[in-house]
């Protein structure tokens, strides 16, 4: 269970950005690879805990799960993996261990409230 320390890093990072940009954050958008070693559900509940007594209290964590994409050297193409229990090309069956995508653990965007003029 290392999701709490990951959640705390996310909050810390978001706080830094919020301070730098002088904005209030409503939500943090995260890309989470299936092979990142982090469990989505656990991270979501830890996030709430990690936000307590910080400027991010009450903010949401929006997680986009990133499926694994491998490179098939036989097809010379990137292919989505159908199961993490079987690393082979879904088209030709060649075993593939080159991961193109699926290890992400990255804050990609922050959602803020911006004041805009009322429509006339």
């Amino acid at each position: 269970m290392h999701e709490l320390s990951i959640a705390m890093s996310i909050v810390e990072l978001a706080e830094e950005e919020a301070e730098r940009l002088a904005v209030q954050i409503d939500a943090v958008h995260l890309k989470l690879g299936v092979l990142s070693g982090v469990v989505k559900e656990a991270l979501l509940s830890c996030y709430e805990m990690a936000c307590e007594n910080t400027p991010l209290q009450g903010s949401r964590l929006v997680i986009e799960e990133i499926p694994v994409v491998i490179y098939c050297s036989r097809c010379r193409a990137q292919r989505p993996l159908s199961s993490v229990q079987l690393f082979c090309c879904p088209e030709c069956g060649t075993p593939c261990s080159q991961i193109v995508q699926g290890k992400e653990l990255e804050v990609v965007a922050l959602e803020i409230q911006e004041c805009v003029p009322n429509p006339v």
């Binding site: 990951i6 070693g37 229990q85 990255e106 804050v107 911006e114």
Partner: protein, 227 residues
């Protein structure tokens, strides 16, 4: 004025801090010419016994040391100290994995230039350690025959964070009806091409092959540094 939600793009790796420390460790290891091996596995797969054997066998010819991560006790460090190699315990408290900064601080009093091999035993856990780079040259994932053949299928992520799989306690294989072929195929299914070694720290079976593999890697590393 009315509030309207807006997205600001940031793109920041959550584990960047760990990666930065790991990179600086790797640079230090390179400069000192020490080959660093880390061990990950589930609790009870025989990491400590394997490491004790490795240290004991290497020590007459090589300068070796070990860091060992444990949640609460110093038992592992005491066991490893029997090899007479320098050993330091990293007690992680409630943390289920080692991070690069812990390795960095544990190494403070050691002169890396005086070492050929440094071993880092991670906390027994097949999940969390996979996210953290420790700056090592080689990561071994251990599975013991008593755990069954399907560990790779249950924990594919750790197999992708490691370089070599080591099947341990092979002296017990027959007693637990362990199928080497099934285990090997499962490892290859989740990580095609992964080298797999099998050994028993108790009988010493397979240790020689493992040690020659390590020594070859050390020579390779030093030759690359000399170019």
């Amino acid at each position: 004025m009315r509030p309207e939600p807006r997205l600001i793009e940031v793109r920041r790796n959550v584990l960047k801090q760990n990666d930065v420390v790991a990179r600086s460790l790797r640079d230090r290891f390179r400069a000192a010419g020490v080959f660093v091996v880390s061990l990950v596995s589930s609790p009870g797969s025989g990491k400590t016994a394997f490491l004790e054997k490795t240290l004991t066998l290497l020590r007459p010819s090589y300068r070796v040391a070990a860091l060992v991560g444990d949640l609460a006790t110093e038992n592992d460090a005491l066991r490893l100290a029997r090899s007479q190699a320098p050993v330091k315990q990293i007690t992680t408290g409630t943390l289920c994995h080692l991070e690069a900064a812990m390795v960095e601080s544990a190494l403070q009093e050691w002169d890396l230039n005086q070492l050929d091999f440094l071993f880092i035993e991670n906390v027994g856990n097949l999940v969390c350690p996979s996210s953290y780079d420790l700056g090592e040259d080689l990561r071994l994932v251990l599975i013991s025959v008593t755990e069954g053949e399907d560990k790779p299928l249950k924990y594919p992520t750790i197999f992708h964070s490691a370089d070599v799989a080591v099947v341990t306690k092979v002296d017990l294989a027959a007693a637990v009806e362990f199928s080497w072929e099934t285990a090997y195929n499962n490892i290859q299914a989740v990580r095609p091409g992964m080298p797999v070694l099998r050994l028993s720290a108790k009988t010493g079976d397979g240790m020689e092959e493992f040690l020659s593999f390590l020594v070859a890697r050390l020579i390779e590393l030093r030759e690359a540094a000399a170019v």
